[in-house]
């Protein structure tokens, strides 16, 4: 039995501590004047969104590398990235929904970002359904990589397509949207809480990502041992 590498164990603990500190900073940051307490959702909302998007982009890169090298290691990387990102993105959507109820007076609206988020979630759920239907590991990896590429390319195009309609989603970082509803500007305290949340979630993502890759490696080993026993 392989034990967990020490670096990964340290990273596990670090991730939990950072999550705690980040929550503390977010709760102690100044309360936004108009929206009140619910605005605090924003720190984790952006934290999870940023890491999830990073994971989806990484998955696209991994699938290109897999299709070129045909090394199953890259397939395990890709699955790990997509699985963790899928969960993070779901958290982003749920948190955004919690914020939207008081700010926009609705849980959901068909705004470009929200719609693209929903479509992206569905694409990667379909990705796992595709993988589930295939037994041969090489074929599963090839199809997974192809679909991750198709999906990863289509999601940004969906975003631009829906941008043809108006958006009400606020743009807090870089640029303002005059039609946005619920935008605000940050004080230095909020800014530090915000950037700390980004940092914390990046570390948490790396930790989960690493754990998931390790799990994939172990699964692979179990499969091989099973094959050996049955032979």
């Amino acid at each position: 039995m392989q034990t967990k590498p020490l670096a990964l164990r340290i990273l596990d603990i670090l991730a939990i501590v950072l999550l705690g500190i980040s929550a503390y900073l977010a709760l102690n940051a100044p309360t936004e004047r108009v929206m009140g307490e619910v605005q605090k959702v924003f720190y984790f909302h952006i934290g999870t969104a940023w890491t999830a998007l990073l994971g989806f982009i990484l998955a696209g890169v991994f699938s290109v590398i897999y299709l070129i090298t045909k090394d199953l290691k890259w397939d395990r990387f890709q699955v790990a990235a997509i699985e963790v990102s899928l969960v993070f993105f779901l958290i982003t959507i749920v948190l955004g929904s919690i914020w939207a109820r008081p700010a926009w007076n609705t849980w959901w609206t068909w705004d470009p970002r929200l719609t693209t988020a929903a479509v992206t979630e569905l694409i990667y759920v379909a990705y796992f359904m595709l993988r589930q239907g295939i037994d041969d590991p090489d074929r599963r990896a090839r199809f997974g990589a192809v679909y991750a590429l198709v999906g990863g390319l289509s999601a940004p195009i969906t975003f631009f397509a829906i941008r043809l309609f108006r958006t009400i989603h606020p743009v807090v970082i870089g640029g303002t949207n005059p039609e946005a509803d619920g935008g605000f500007s940050m004080t230095p305290d909020m800014r530090s809480a915000f950037f700390f949340a980004l940092f914390a979630f990046s570390i948490i993502f790396i930790d989960l990502f690493w754990n998931r890759i390790r799990l994939g490696d172990l699964q692979e080993k179990v499969e091989q041992l099973k094959l050996k026993v049955s032979m």
């Binding site: 299709l67 479509v119 569905l122 694409i123 379909a126 359904m129 595709l130 589930q132 239907g133 295939i134 037994d135 074929r139 090839r142 199809f143 990589a145 192809v146 679909y147 590429l149 198709v150 999906g151 390319l153 289509s154 195009i157 969906t158 631009f160 397509a161 829906i162 043809l164």
Partner: protein, 242 residues
């Protein structure tokens, strides 16, 4: 001097023969599909009846009176094409798989992308034929004139994108355990840009909107078609590899 000129001449000639053999291979796949279909008419009749039924369902679900018709016609049309399209895509690949034709096709000494393009063209042909029948039926049923050159262009561009991505994904889904139910699940989330811009451009043409309003979704359709057919062309080998 003499050597050089013959060299220069021989390169394009070789290339031309390579190109023509590729086109011949594509044509052979298309011809095979069309001929099989004209003999059985399984796929075509199923798609056609299915799309008429969808229009019927929409008629009751939306109560297509004159007022709502104006705003939802393009949506109803594209939903019909999308649903009928999956039926055709599924079937056209399932036939190849069931009767072991896919292996035969793969054994043929041609570039595998020729198989992909052949399949796309035949799928596109079936979609267009069904669409060309649905349009006049819809026009008669609801007294709107759908035969406008702009709208036909949008339908062509949208169908190209749909068939291009759909053929790639159908080739994958028929090789899985959950084949029939998997294709729409894989296909619909990734063709949303096509449906979105096609609906927007179609309703623009139908309601006589300004050119500036139509040209944006139209450009998006063209961009999508190019990007995804190029991508499918590059990765198709990985989908059919054994």
């Amino acid at each position: 001097m003499v050597d050089k000129t013959t060299e220069i001449r021989s390169v394009p000639l070789e290339r031309r023969s390579h190109k023509s053999s590729f086109i011949k291979a594509v044509g052979a796949v298309v011809w095979k599909d069309l001929r099989a279909e004209f003999r059985s008419r399984e796929l075509f009749s199923a798609m056609l009846v299915f799309s008429l039924l969808i229009i019927l369902i929409f008629n009751f679900a939306l109560e297509l009176d004159i007022k709502t018709r104006q705003s939802v016609t393009s949506g109803v049309l594209w939903a019909t094409f999308a649903f009928a399209g999956t039926l055709g895509l599924n079937r056209s690949m399932a036939i190849e798989k069931d009767r072991g034709c896919l292996d035969g096709l793969l054994l043929a000494p041609v570039d595998r992308s020729a198989i992909y393009f052949g399949k796309v063209i035949s799928n596109l042909a079936f979609m267009l034929i069904v669409e060309l029948i649905v349009l006049p039926v819809y026009s008669v049923l609801y007294t709107v004139n759908l035969f406008q050159p702009g709208l036909l262009l949008v339908i062509l561009l949208g169908s190209i994108g749909y068939a291009g991505v759909g053929t790639l994904l159908a080739a994958m889904s028929v090789q899985t355990r959950t084949r029939d139910i998997l294709l729409p699940i894989l296909l619909f989330p990734v063709v949303i840009p096509v449906l979105l811009s096609a609906v927007k451009a179609s309703s623009g043409f139908l309601n006589g909107a300004d050119w500036e309003e139509i040209v944006l979704p139209l450009n998006l359709l063209i961009a999508y078609d190019i990007i995804f057919i190029a991508l499918a062309f590059m990765v198709f080998d990985n989908v059919v590899e054994e």
